[in-house]
């Protein structure tokens, strides 16, 4: 099936992406080619096989014992508690919380 510009825009919105006008047409063409190629799978699907797990992919349950979240290694950060290390990566934080814009747009905003 071919994907139109409208369809690409709708899916991009679901994925929280904005595609520029110029990119939209290119993407629609490229994605249509890819989806056309993928559509060959129709003739190979008899609907019978199930989602079986690979032999290799056995699930290993953790023994669930308390331990420090970061294992000590030679390259470990000083003595900084792990939370601080995570917060150091945050674009913005306040005290021990991540700081983000308000969930609702300010009045006059378009959301």
């Amino acid at each position: 099936m071919s994907l139109g510009v409208e369809e690409v825009r709708r899916i991009a919105e679901l994925a929280r992406l904005r595609i520029s006008g110029r990119e939209e047409a290119t993407f629609a063409g490229q994605l249509s080619d890819i989806v056309d190629y993928i559509d060959q799978l129709r003739e190979f699907d008899d609907g019978a096989a199930s989602f079986e797990e690979t032999e290799a992919a056995s699930d290993v349950a953790d023994n669930d014992l308390p331990r420090p979240a970061a294992a000590a290694g030679p390259a470990d950060l000083d003595e900084t508690p792990l939370l601080d290390q995570f917060l150091d990566n945050a674009p913005a934080s306040l005290d021990r919380f991540l700081l983000v814009p308000q969930v609702k747009a300010t009045p006059g905003g378009d959301e």
């Binding site: 929280r16 993407f27 190979f44 199930s50 970061a70 990566n89 747009a105």
Partner: protein, 485 residues
Amino acid sequence: MQPLTAEGLAAAIRSGERNAVDTVEAAFARIEKVDGSVGAFLELWRDEATERAAGIDSRRDEGLPLGPLAGVPTALKDNMSLAGHELNCGSRILAGYRAPYTAGAVERLVAADAVPVGRVNMDEFAMGSSCENSALATTRNPWNLTMAPGGSSGGSAAAVAASEVPLALGSDTGGSIRQPAAFCGVVGVKPTYGRVSRYGLVAFASSLDQIGPLARNVRDAALALGAIAGPDPRDSTCSEEPVSDFLEPIEDGIEGLKVGTIREVRTSSLEGDAARGFEQALEALARCGAELVEVSVPLVETAVATYYVLANSEASANLARFDGSRYGHRAAGARSLGEMYTDSRSEGFGPEVKRRIILGTFALSSGYYDAYYGRAARIAGALRQQFADAFEQAELLVTPTSPGGAFRLGERVDDPLAMYLSDVFTTPTSLAGIPGISVPCGLDSRGLPLGLQILARPFADGTALRAARAFERETGFECRPEPVQ
């Protein structure tokens, strides 16, 4: 003179014949000399590497035992965590991110006394087959600097091929270790899914991602795989299956071993003289004493399509975490949380990552889920079964690693589908969860390396390594790319 192997370096450092500090310094000198033209490294960890090497030397001087990779300079792909170091995954969206912890495979590598010397380039989020989707740097093929090194672990392969380091870790989701290894004339191992911990590896497609080594010869790859493989309770898909000694039986040869070619892998589809390369590889295997048989795995023809549905579906979910709130790039001036998500992601991700997220979102979206994701998952299940049946008739299977040798930088960037099709022989292995090794099998008429891919049953990684070693002994390939001599 050929550079020393990882195995040889480690032995010399353990015996005191060499110092780890000198070895690491020599690696940095080599990187300084050639990386300007190769462009494999994104960052060097000079001070920390020297300090770690000094620690190894002094432990030896005190008579303490050293690990199997003692003092071996090793490059890490830019998607593996080493605590305290920046990690970008080839993307602008992770700019400034510092890993708070170390990946399981990297912990094991360091416990074996290898010395991480820096991080190397990759396609953004491991999505690509040429390293050209990196937002950070251009990496060139050491055999011909106008050619792509392959991808996504192109930095790892190029660094090893150019003798900047004897060893690198890469990750493979649909061929990302094997294809660049083939393009750069080195050995690359995609282990059985679950053989190596994924803890601390940035997730692309969690059911397919696997870390593995790239090295200049099979013994070094086996040594490195032995060091990084094994259980890790922090990755629930990491197997508790005991790790066998990969080196001990590696010289045993493959006399009488049944090696299968796959009927549906058509050599007529190969580019240039890759078909001749593959024929010669089969002759070499026969000279090693392998009994060649033909098996049928009809669904291999569907693997690229199946792979791009499943991998991108998983990627669309895994990459939802990059939204500007917890780490990496945050767009300025957003007026709401939703706007911040959209703006940060739109600015931070490159075009290929966006295409794949859109494709994955499409495949999982209401109305299309069963026709795309469901169908692909069913076909992958049937493909696994076909491989299991094929392995009833042959101990190992072989294919070319890629339809041809390296392609020119820029040649396929505007045609994503053409780029995807270079994974035609590597994606089936990934979907089946089985081990795959790419071992050099000579040069094409352009003087660029070709790879032979050797596949084995789940957890028979050692058998594949033994065959790769026999093949390497027989063919005597030397990785000596002229432009970096």
